[in-house]
Subunit: 248 residues, 2 copies
Amino acid sequence: MKPKVGSYTFHVESYACDFRGKATLPVIGNFLLRAATIHAQERGFGYEAIVKDHTAWVLSRMSLEMYEYPEHDQDLTVETWVEDVTRLFTQRCLRFIDSGGKVVGYARTIWAAIDMETRRPKDILSWRPDLSSYIAEDVDCPIAKPGKIPNAAGEPAMGYAVRYSDIDINCHVNSIKYIEHTIDAFGLEMFQRNTIRRFEIIYMAEATFGDKLKLYKEEAAPGAFVIDTKKDEESVCRCRIEWEGLKA
Amino acid sequence: MKPKVGSYTFHVESYACDFRGKATLPVIGNFLLRAATIHAQERGFGYEAIVKDHTAWVLSRMSLEMYEYPEHDQDLTVETWVEDVTRLFTQRCLRFIDSGGKVVGYARTIWAAIDMETRRPKDILSWRPDLSSYIAEDVDCPIAKPGKIPNAAGEPAMGYAVRYSDIDINCHVNSIKYIEHTIDAFGLEMFQRNTIRRFEIIYMAEATFGDKLKLYKEEAAPGAFVIDTKKDEESVCRCRIEWEGLKA
């Protein structure tokens, strides 16, 4: 049996970095998905294995904390393990380690297994009782779970129509693309003076091609913003972003 | 000395594919940049080597033809070599090979070396006379070079404001992001019925944060479109896209 914790190293491409020369949240999000994909695949519950059961993993919630963002042309190692399996969700944790061996962040992700035809969640414990044997007991993810995020209202801060590049293989908006559009609701000066310390996202509904989405932004506490992406009155995803001022 | 042709294999992630389950042009473009980056780095003229001369490679033009798009969860091998070095430009070719060994596409890229302070092009032949020794003579790239692309006008088909996620490490719009926005000027039904056989791009000016860009689209010949991205009256990049109807 494969070890419960998988470890995967990625390279932060300079051409994919932001204006500060650092990995963006979508870049880190893609590393996270890649690590989760390989970890699951190596252990027999990856995309290709479960598609035979007409089932797909769907990311439901995530919380992520970054203490330092990896710089261009550096490696980032992502360790990942399953923390818990319940009837409706699996919880997967991730730890981010820079090329010097320093832990620079953590993430918690919560996944549902959905039936690809009905789009309804499966009972994971009866569908794949073996998954619980992969739960890692001796590793710790010391960040808070993704919590509830309140509705945001007022005037929309930004809007976009869902286009070809937003749509994934399931014909819905790509989970990383929501993150990209959400952080784009902030101006450049915000990124010049501050950095995102904690990010949370809850996926609530599915948007598809041509949908016109609006982003509502509210400062819920000093430096902590709720960004609510809505289709008409319905929230399709909600994010909570905690910024930290850059040290001089 | 390293062989003149470098070969690099990448994985087409299902979560980065389009609604057809195929790699998008931006995904292929990122593989292309990754292959070019490693190839140059292994031969002593990569980003980290030339930054010491306050110099950066800047993509100036590209033509790309894809006969088949790689499918999700497949590998794509990218072979690349230098075809020519002149005073102002280097020409780098790329060949795309699927996991079965079949050639599925080619690209030609034209690069300038710019001084990072003045943003002016360098004389490559006097700056790095050694580059010519990497020219590969016995490989062929059987697609047309990127040619001139005419101005497009009329009513804009689409517009966008440049945001955080569009901006690269040089504080200008990322070269792949221009491609992403350009293909987003087409509706989903175009991608359902057709596929992009040939794509050309010319980078003409630099756009930066907050710029409001407009895309002008003209059908120059049946199935061949010019998409001109403009800031006010000035073209920042022009693309030519040839579509091919999907076989039943």
